[in-house]
Symmetry: D2
Subunit: 365 residues, 4 copies
C-alpha cells in the first residue's frame, strides 16, 4: 500500500536506500521449476550498473547480487525469492550540502512534505539505485517469459533531439554502442551532443523503446488492468519517465480511423494484421502482434550549475549539485524499462491463466 | 484481479455490458459524511452521455443514475455506494453483422482469444458505455476533493491536427463549444474538420488535457505507486487512449537539465516553483504546483467504410461497421479523463494520511 | 480496502443495507464458460431467506435475484457478474426506537464511533441481510467447484447445548428437518429448546460444520494465505461467528503428537491418511482428504427483553428490541458458511494454477 | 498473491527457508517518525528463539537481526523497512532421511503436490523459523501501537490438559515461568507433563490467549475485514494453529442471548460494558473494551517415534523424525500470536483513519 510492491500474482517488493547497507527485492508468486542462477540475474544488473562508459556516473559499485531464498538446487521452489545487493561506494561527503537544500527536479521537497523529514544521503529511497530491485526482479520475470517463448527487448530510440527513425533500425547495433541505440551513426552524434552538454555542466534526456515478441493474444484484463494501462503504470513508475505511449501513441491522435485501424487478415488460419499502428494491443489486450511502447525520459536533474532553490526552512538559497551524476540516464534506464515490461507481462500471463474454465480444467482435470 | 476494480482505499468496481440490463459501479472506501445526491452524479454523467451534439452517436440513452446503497439522509455512510444506470436503447439488430466478424481496431479478436467467446452485442464489456461506471465514481471522488479544496478540470487540447497552444487558452470558452476546447476559434475549425471526415465515413482522435489545483505536496507513493504512475495507469485504462504524459512529457526528452529543472523559490514561507515543466510532480509525488497531464486519444475505430478483416473461423472477410458511432470520441471522453484523475487523487489522498506518525496521532490522540 | 471485497482472483464485492433499495454483489474473476442461471443462484438464496420455519423471522422477502451482467446466452463471459436482490418488506416503523439507542450485542455503538453516525434502519449494512451477497456469490463459486468435481456441504452440528456426535450423523436427514441437523432426533429436541427460549423472549446459538470433498492436494498458500487461514477469515467474517476450528480444532490442543498425527499410507499409488485429525489441511495446504471446519455462532442479539444500554448521547437507558427477529440464526447461516467456504476454495483453486511452471505451460504451450 | 504478504496498509512480506542463508521481512507502509532500534526488534526475537529452556529445540541460533533499510537516525522514514536474520546452525545431515519421506503432520506431502518438489532441508519454507519474519514485523507494529497507547500481550493459557482458569490469573507470573503461563503452579504441573511426554518421544499442544488494551472503538471494517475476521486470518496463518476464538468463542454457541449480550452503561459520558462475553468486538469492530482471543495449538508433529508414512514414490514406509524438535511449540509461539495480533491492529488503525471526512480534514485542513 505504500507502493513498494508491483504485480498481482507475480509480485515484487523492493526496499533500500542509496547509502544504506543495501538494496533488495522479494519476488513472490514466481512459479516453481524455473532455472535461475545468480549469473542470470547479474547479467541484467550489469546492464544498469554505473561506470560502463564515460557517460555514466563514476560511482564504483559492483552491484553483485546474492540469492537469499526461493531457489533450491538451481530452480525456483515457488516460495519468495529474496535478492540483495550490498552498497559499497557510499561517499556521504558528496551529499553533505543537500541535507538542508531541496534540489530542483528531485524528490527532496515533496518527500520532506510527505514524511516530515528525509534520508538525505544520495536521494535515499528516491535514488536511481532503487531500480536495482526492479532489474533483479525483471531478470527472473524474463526467464519465465523465455520458457514461454516470449522475448522482450528495450533500446534507446532518442538522446535529446537525436532520434533514430524506424527505417534506420539496425537491431544488431544496439549492443555495439554505449548508448544502446539501434544505429551506430546516430549514437555517435548523440555521444558528441552529450559530451558538449557535460562540458557545460548540463544534461539531457531521451526516448526508450521496448518491444515484446511471442505474446499470445488475450493478455491484459479488459477494464482497469488493460495491458497498456499496466505497462503505463510500470514504466511511468520509473523515476525520470514523463510520458508513455503504445504503438503510434501521440501520433495516433492526429491520424484518422481509416489510416489508424490495422486490417486483419488470415494466413493458414492464423490471424495477422497488415499494419501495427496499435502497437500490439486492442481493447487493452495483446492482439498477437509485436508489442511496442515508448518512454520519455527527462534530462538528469542533478547538474553542477548554480540553481535557485529553497532550504528546509523555506529560505531562498542557491545550489550546485556536485557528486557523481550521469549526464544522461537513458542508457542505464534501458534495462529498467525492459525489466518493468517483463514484470508486467509475467504477471498478466499468470493472471490470464484462469480466464476460461477450459484452462482451469487443463490444470486440474 | 480481473481488472474491474481501481484504487486501493477509495476503490471502485465497475460492471456491465453495452446491451445488457445496465451498467454500474460500487464505490468502497469513501469516507462517511460527504453530501452526495443523484443530481451531483447525474451532472457528471450528462457530460458523457450520447446525443449532446451532431458529433456524437445518435444512440438515445438518458443515462439516469439510481443510488442503491451507501447514502443515508443525503450523506455517505462509509459503506459501499452502489450506483446503477439502466440501458434503454438496445438495438441489437445494428450489431448482428459483427457477431461473426472481428472489427479492426476493436477488442473483438483478443476478447475471443482470451475467453473463448464474447458477448458481441455492441462491444459488450469493451463498449464505451463501460465508462459510465468510471464517471459515476469520479463524480463522488470529485465531491471528496472539493471538500479538501481540490479542483480537477479536463478539456480538449486537440482534435486531429487542430491543437490549442497554451498561450491561446481561454478557460471560460471550454463550456461554450461542443468540443470542450479552451478556444472557440480552434473548436470551430476542428468542427469543420470532423464534418468533413463524417462525410467520408472516417473518424479522428485528439488530445485531452487535465489539470488539478489545490493539491498538497507529498501525494503519491515513492516507488511503484508514484502519482504519475497511477495517473498513467488510470488514464491509459480508458479505451482509445494510446499515450499519457505529465508536464512537458515527451517534449522534456529533447530538453536539457538546465532548462527542464523548475527552480524553487520561497514567498512568505511558501515553497513555489518559477516554472512547471514537471507538471506538478517530483519523484512521483505532488509538489504543490498545478498538476498537468495529457492523454492521446486514437481515432474512433468504428467507421462505415469497407475494411479488410477476418471472421471467427479465421477466414478472410470484409466489414463495414454500421450503427450509431461517434466520429470522434474526444469530447465525450473529457469527463472520463477528469473522472479517472479525480479517482486517482482521492485514493492517494486517503493513502497518504498514514505517511507520518504525527498524522496518525492527529486522528487518534 | 473498506472490507467489502473478498478473494484475490475469484473476488466478490458486496453492497447494500437492510432497508435501502436492495442488496447485491459483483463477482469479478469468474472464469468464462460456466453455465449459470438465475435459478441456480435462487436455489442458494432460498436456503437463507426468511420465513422458512417457525424459528425464523417473519419478515417477508422473496429475495429474488436478477442477473445484471456477466452472463451471455447462459454462460459466464469472464466479465464481472452483477447480481441484485431488491428489498421488499421494509417496515421502518419497527426500528424507530433504535435510532437513538445502542442495542447490546449489535454493531450500533462501534459503527457510530467509526463513522460519526449510522443508517439505523434495521442494522443498515450490519444487518444479516448483508449475507445475501455472500450467498449469491457462493452459488456461483459452487458451480465452478462442481465443474472440478468438488462438493461443499454445511449443516448444523449443534443448537445451544444440543449437539450431534459424529457417530450419529445421518447425512440424508439434514434436509429433513428445519434446523438442517444430520440427526432428526437431536433436531427435534433442539426445536423444543428453541421454542422454550422464544417463550421467554430469549435466543440461542449453535455450531455449524462444513465439509468439502474432492479437493486436490496443494490448495492454499504456504505462509499467510494458508487454506485454514483464509477459511478462518471467510467464516469469522460472518456476523455472529465467534470461533472457527479446523479438524479436531480446540480438542487437538489437549491431544498428543502420537495421537494427533495422521499416518499416511499408499493404496494403488494414491496417498491416503488413516485418520483425519487435521481436517484435511497440512502446512496450510489441502492434503487431499476431507476438509472439515466448524463455526461457533453466538445467540441472536436481538431479544425482546428489557436490557440495559446507553443512547447516542451516552446517557443510560433501557431497550427492548422489538421487530421480527430469528430466535436462532444458525439454520439460516448454514448456507452462508457453505458459501464462504466455496468462495475461499474457488479463489484458492485459481490462485494455485500458477504454482508450477509445468501448469503454466499446460495453458500456454 | 502467493501469500507471503500480510496487511493492507501496514503490510509485511516475509521470505526465507529454515536452512537457506537467512530469514527476513520487508515492512511497507509503516508511518514515518517512529523510533525503532535493532534492540527493540531483538527483544521480540529473543522471546521466540530456540534454546530458552529444556522444553525447546537445541538448535543453536542467535537470531540476530540486522536493519537493512527504512530507518534513518533511529527513526522510521516511511520507506520499506527490511530486516534480515542470518541462519547459523544449519545441520543438513539431521534432515537427510526426510528428503524422500513425507512426515506425518507436516507440509511435506501437499508442498510436493503443489510445487512438484520441495526444499526438504528442515521444512524449508514451512519451518517454524518462518515466524521470525512475523515476530520482527510484530515488534515494529507494537512500537506503533505503543505510540497510540495500545498494549498487546499474549501468554499460555493451557498446555495439553493443564489450563489456567481466568480466576487464577496472576499476570505478573507470566514471565516467571518458562511456559509463559499466568500461574506458576499450573506451569509447574504442565512442565512435568511435558517431561513425561519427552520421555516417551511424544509431544503436546496447548492454548495461547492474547489480550489488547487501549483500543479505540470502531477498528475493523464492517463486512469481510471485520476485526475478528482479520485476527482469525492472522492467527490461523501461524503453523500448528487449528482454531481461533474471540471472547467466549465456542462457549458462546451454547449460551443464550440474555446471558451472552453485554449490557452497555455510561460512566462520566464514557460508554462501557458490564460484561465482555464478546471479547471486545461488536459487528466486527472494536467496542472499546478489552480484546480477547485464543488460539488452539496442535501437538508438535515431529516426534522420534516410528510412524507409518509413504515416500515420494508413494510407497508405504516408516519414519522416525530425528533432529532437534520442541516437545511443545506453545511457549515459543506466544510471541508469534502476539505479533500477528499487533500487526492486525496496526493495519486496521491505519485503515480506519479515512473512515470519516472529519478525520480526513484533520490531516489536510
Amino acid at each position: 500500500m505504500s507502493g513498494s510492491s508491483f504485480g498481482s500474482i507475480f509480485r515484487i517488493t523492493t526496499w533500500g536506500e542509496s547509502h544504506g547497507p543495501g538494496i533488495g527485492v522479494v519476488i513472490d508468486g514466481c512459479p516453481a521449476g524455473i532455472s535461475v542462477s545468480e549469473a542470470d540475474i547479474q547479467r541484467f544488473l550489469d546492464r544498469r550498473k554505473p561506470g560502463q562508459s564515460k557517460y555514466t556516473t563514476k560511482r564504483s559499485e559492483s552491484d553483485s547480487v546474492e540469492i537469499l531464498s526461493g531457489i533450491f538446487e538451481g530452480k525456483t521452489t515457488g516460495t519468495p525469492i529474496s535478492l540483495i545487493v550490498r552498497n559499497q561506494d557510499q561517499r556521504p561527503r558528496d551529499y553533505g550540502n543537500i541535507a538542508s537544500l531541496f534540489r530542483p527536479g528531485h524528490a527532496d521537497y515533496p518527500f520532506t512534505e510527505k514524511y516530515g523529514f528525509r534520508d538525505y544521503r544520495g536521494g535515499g529511497r528516491s535514488s536511481g539505485r532503487e531500480t536495482i530491485g526492479r532489474v533483479a526482479g525483471g531478470a527472473v520475470a524474463s526467464l519465465l517469459l523465455k520458457e514461454l517463448g516470449i522475448r522482450v527487448q528495450a533500446y534507446t530510440k532518442a538522446i535529446g533531439p537525436y532520434s533514430v527513425p524506424e527505417e534506420d533500425y539496425h537491431m544488431s547495433e544496439i549492443t555495439e554502442n554505449v548508448l544502446y541505440m539501434p544505429d551506430n551513426a546516430t549514437a555517435s552524434k548523440a555521444g558528441e551532443y552529450i559530451s558538449s552538454l557535460m562540458a557545460e555542466c548540463d544534461s539531457c534526456g531521451g526516448i526508450i523503446e521496448c518491444v515484446a515478441e511471442g505474446l499470445p493474444a488475450g493478455l491484459g484484463e479488459p477494464v482497469f488492468d488493460k495491458l497498456d494501462a499496466l505497462l503505463a503504470h510500470a514504466v511511468m513508475s520509473v523515476g525520470a519517465v514523463k510520458g508513455v505511449e503504445i504503438g503510434d501513441g501521440f501520433a495516433a491522435s492526429a491520424s484518422t480511423g481509416s489510416k489508424n485501424n490495422d486490417p486483419f487478415f488470415s494466413e493458414d488460419g492464423t490471424v495477422l494484421k497488415k499494419t501495427n499502428h496499435a502497437g500490439g494491443t486492442l481493447g487493452g489486450m495483446s492482439d498477437g502482434s509485436r508489442l511496442i511502447l515508448r518512454a520519455a525520459i527527462k534530462p538528469t536533474s542533478s547538474i553542477a550549475r548554480t540553481q535557485h532553490t529553497v532550504d528546509v526552512n523555506h529560505e531562498n538559497a542557491e545550489i550546485k549539485v556536485l557528486g557523481r551524476h550521469d549526464p544522461v540516464i537513458v542508457p542505464r534506464a534501458v534495462v529498467v524499462v525492459e525489466s518493468m515490461t517483463a514484470l508486467t507481462l509475467a504477471d498478466l500471463l499468470l493472471r490470464n491463466m484462469s480466464a476460461r474454465l477450459e484452462n482451469v480444467k487443463k490444470v486440474y482435470c
